[in-house]
């Protein structure tokens, strides 16, 4: 056992020799990480099963009532994870996901950065204006799709005002399909930017910790 400790000390020494600057700061608390990965997984299931309900791929030959069950259950899970995140935000008084005017003012500069007209992104809070816009749209659209989903699930027994508002079952389906396409178009952008912009942010979503300030080694 003694040897072990010695070994680790020496490793730590060697590590200190490397010029790693900054300290590890917790940026993603445990509930945020649980929400993120849980929601990502269940929403993926919701969307894939929804698309299967939309247009059954006959080569899969899936049992259709099971597809619907998967769709419904994963949606309840997604809602649950979202609930966790909302509760977490309320308890920690965390407003990092609420877009503010100050954030949106930076949006043109951010776009300029993404289109290679600027060399660095504008300053921002925890999330930049683009992220805030996408996350907020996801939040709203997820709730819209859920409401419409519940309306179709109850087949006009409950939520009658929703039916009257949208004008029928086909419109409900249609809106949900378009919402799914929106998710399918924006999720890859989200993944792409999170792996290519700042990899330590991705690490933070797994371990919870992020190195601040960024190592900035060139």
């Amino acid at each position: 056992m003694k040897h072990h400790v010695k070994l680790r000390k020496s490793v730590r020494k060697q590590l200190q020799k490397g010029n790693v600057e900054g300290t590890l700061i917790q940026s993603q608390p445990i509930w945020v990480r649980i929400f993120h990965w849980g929601f990502a997984f269940s929403l993926t299931l919701v969307i894939l099963s929804g698309l299967q309900l939309h247009k059954p791929a006959s080569f899969l030959a899936l049992n259709f009532s099971k597809v619907l069950t998967i769709h419904l259950i994963s949606c309840w899970f997604a809602l649950g994870f979202l609930g966790i995140r909302i509760a977490d935000a309320l308890i920690r008084k965390d407003d990092s996901l609420i877009p503010k005017l100050q954030d949106l003012k930076h949006f043109p500069q951010l776009m300029a950065y993404y289109f290679f007209l600027r060399s660095s992104p504008p300053p921002g809070r925890k999330y930049n204006s683009g992220q805030l816009i996408i996350y907020t749209s996801w939040f709203v659209l997820f709730l819209v799709a859920t409401l419409l989903g519940l309306a179709s699930y109850w087949e006009g027994e409950h939520l009658i005002w929703v039916w009257r508002l949208v004008g029928g079952f086909q419109v409900i389906r249609w809106v949900k399909f378009i919402v799914s396409i929106y998710f399918l178009a924006t999720i890859p952008v989200h993944i792409y930017l999170s792996i290519t912009e700042d990899i330590s942010r991705l690490q933070a979503m797994v371990t919870g910790y992020e190195r601040k300030p960024t190592p900035n080694n060139r």
């Binding site: 070994l7 790693v20 059954p56 399918l184 080694n217």
Partner: protein, 374 residues
């Protein structure tokens, strides 16, 4: 007299056995003869319509439509059934309106043509003036005991209100907001749905209505929920072409989104119904039919673009996903070319100058005496 509960039972039993009127008319005729129920005065106004619902109504088999007309209802004004014409016929409508307010039932067949104050649809000639459909329906409707819209056009606008809706046609409810309109939709409405609703009105008053104003009695459940091919659907066994014996979901069946009792009632004296002859339900009883239901052979409606082109939803979906892929690929290539990708990754990851390496130096074995029993 027949109780309301018995009536509701008969409406379903009659659908299954196909003898709704046979079951329902004798007790009714007796009740009328005994003076328990008054013969119901009915007037029908046809506006923007093909008269298909009248033809459908003629399709009542046993007893025939004429039995019902003579024994049960007081059918007063109806273009296809009138025994007189011109002023004489119109006077009957006027008389009913003036002498029997809050007693007669108004049936409307056809959509409400709104463009240019309704002048593309004249339905009467009064004091040298042409009367529009909207005006007459509003006037007669405001004093009626019940207003019943029959067929897709009168209920929700139907084919007449289809894209691009040149006459700005709409359903009766929209031009009669003061009244609750009872919607008996369908293209055409099934004779049982029309007559069943009228009989319910005569005997027990307004039937329970569902979300879009249709009697729950007939429109309470989706086609899909009662379809004989539902087992196929649940197991994922789908027809790949119209004419095959499996569930028709993949060829655009609108059964899952359509409320009506066709699977048990069927059509043409119970002879058959669309899914029974291997063609998809086209959703004719729903608001938004036909635009929201067409093309009849695909799942979701096409999206109209300015200029009159229509694009399939699936192509739009694929198009959007294609654009995203192109955008991301383009961004990757540009980022690589400009060195941004490399820079970002280097900047945000940790570089250790002396990468610590560990190698196994020695292996220790520990030995211990075995515990032996005695």
């Amino acid at each position: 007299m027949l109780s309301r509960r018995d009536f509701l039972k008969l409406a379903v039993k009659g659908a299954v056995l196909g003898n709704f009127y046979q079951l329902i008319t004798p007790p009714l005729a007796e009740a009328v003869a005994a003076g328990e129920v008054k013969k119901l005065p009915v007037v029908m106004i046809e506006t923007g319509t093909c008269t298909g619902d009248s033809i459908s109504l003629d399709n009542i088999w046993t007893p025939t439509f004429s039995d019902i007309l003579t024994n049960i209802v007081d059918w007063r004004y109806d273009w296809t059934m009138n025994q007189v014409q011109g002023d004489a016929a119109y006077r009957i409508l006027q008389d009913t309106y003036e002498k029997l307010p809050s007693e007669y039932i108004l049936i409307v067949q056809g959509s409400m043509i709104q463009r240019d104050d309704g002048h593309y649809n004249h339905v009467a000639y009064e004091d040298g003036r042409l009367i529009t459909g909207i005006d007459l329906v509003r006037r007669i409707g405001l004093k009626a005991k019940y207003v019943v819209a029959i067929g897709s056009c009168a209920t929700y606008g139907g084919p007449v209100a289809g894209y691009p809706n040149p006459t700005q046609a709409t359903g009766v409810q929209n031009i009669l907001p003061e009244r609750r309109v009872i919607n008996v939709s369908g293209c055409p409405a099934h004779p049982d749905w029309i007559m069943g609703t009228l009989l319910h009105l005569a005997l027990y008053g307004e039937p329970e209505l569902e979300k879009f104003g249709r009697p729950k009695l007939f429109y309470g459940e989706t086609i899909h929920n009662r379809c004989p091919r539902r087992a196929d659907y649940d197991q994922g066994i789908f027809a790949t072409d119209i004419g095959q014996k499996e569930c028709l979901f993949r060829v655009g069946c609108k059964g899952p989104v359509t409320y009506a009792d066709c699977p048990i009632r069927r059509w043409n004296d119970r002879f058959n119904w669309p899914i029974g002859c291997n063609t998809p339900c086209i959703g004719c009883t729903e608001p938004g039919y036909p635009d929201l239901m067409s093309p009849f052979t695909v799942h979701l409606p096409d999206i109209p673009f300015p200029g009159g082109t229509k694009v399939n939803t699936d192509s739009i979906g694929l198009g959007v996903l294609g654009l995203t892929s192109v955008a991301i690929t383009g961004h990757v290539v540009t980022s690589l070319a400009k060195g941004r990708l490399q820079k970002n990754l280097l900047r945000s990851s940790v570089k250790v100058q002396h990468r610590p390496a560990i190698k196994k130096v020695n292996t220790y074995h520990q030995y211990r005496l075995k515990k032996t029993k005695n």
